[in-house]
Symmetry: C2
Subunit: 213 residues, 2 copies
Amino acid sequence: MNTGNTKEKQISRAVIKRLPRYRRYLGELKKKGIEKISSKDLSELIGYTASQIRQDLNNFGGFGQQGYGYSVNLLYDEIGAILGLDKEYQIVIVGYGRLGQAMANYIANNESNFHIAGIFDVRQIIQDVEFKDAQILTCGSLSGFVKKENIDIAVITVPAEKAQIVADTVCDAGIKGIWNFTAVDLDLPEDVVCENVHVSDSLHALAYYMKDR
Amino acid sequence: MNTGNTKEKQISRAVIKRLPRYRRYLGELKKKGIEKISSKDLSELIGYTASQIRQDLNNFGGFGQQGYGYSVNLLYDEIGAILGLDKEYQIVIVGYGRLGQAMANYIANNESNFHIAGIFDVRQIIQDVEFKDAQILTCGSLSGFVKKENIDIAVITVPAEKAQIVADTVCDAGIKGIWNFTAVDLDLPEDVVCENVHVSDSLHALAYYMKDR
DNA sequence: AAAAATTTGTTAAATATTTCTCTTGCATTG
DNA sequence: CAATGCAAGAGAAATATTTAACAAATTTTT
């Protein structure tokens, strides 16, 4: 077991970025009732080389069987465990505009192990008083809520100019992870993990690849 | 000029992914009225090494001046031109749920050279009949609209199970690029460019990095 | 006006990542 | 139940990416 004190091979970010994708495809195979798959077949499906798939998976252990392939169900669960998707995370959504609402829906409907504990907005929300079992509150109570409810992750969907203030607030309150949808890179304490969804960067990359079409 | 028939160094995807980020920071510097910056200072700001910044930029030409640095304004525009952000793109948004609305707002307010020409949804939308100067229409007219209006990019924000059908429709109608927000990878013709925003993959990567916190 | 300090563009070195090759083990088939 | 084929795992080779080093050009200082 990894207790964090042995010097072990650091898994590259590129590998981690591929894991959710493997899991996504395995989920689809599962749904279709397919029980086993070889790295070769998975390769054709996903578009990475078979070699890379095997190499990636072997960073975490041998989940396959020679002459047979990989068990779809087993591999799906194993990757889930590697990613930490075998636990439940408590999250808050900060910023309940259209993007915040979209992400709330997405999480509630597709990410069963991420529980929306609270939703925050600067405005006093009138139409919705709650979302599923989460209260919708004003930002003033954010810090206290994160502390009291032991929130793991803050989803930041506020306007860009408010993002850093929100980040500071939740970090001070002891948050462990931030899922940032704003177009700024946040300045965060060492021990807070952050994943950015910079849609503008993605759109601009799209423009680049369209250049000579 | 690149006419596409000379064998030239292929720019790696990693470089392209960094360009929008450079431009974003340069935009902020511009706003602050800063006129020049060295790769060293930019490095401290962005977090890439100065060496990498220079290397990246020199893929496209020498925009800096020895002993001086880079002109913020010039570099901002040059990167914009490299990315193809000096043209206007006609886009349609397909799927006008909360995510579609969020992206429509984002584009209208932040991406001046992407013009929302039309918005499509399966439902007959009652409350909004139009968004800025774009009509909101039902999906039946999507194909005809894309053809007639010469649309460049389709933003796909429909439920995952509809994504491929929408993609097929717009591709048949001659679209050049797709900005895909659904959790599936689309099967597309060779000549259609696609940029995916797989939020689930991003969330799962976040979970991984939170493991031992 | 000369000297010193900057800072780019570029080439070379170091790392990291991906692909290839080969060995070994398992499963299937006759 | 032996022979054959399949496919993982592992290590080596090949690529690609990133970082470092340095010469040349420019600016600033004295």
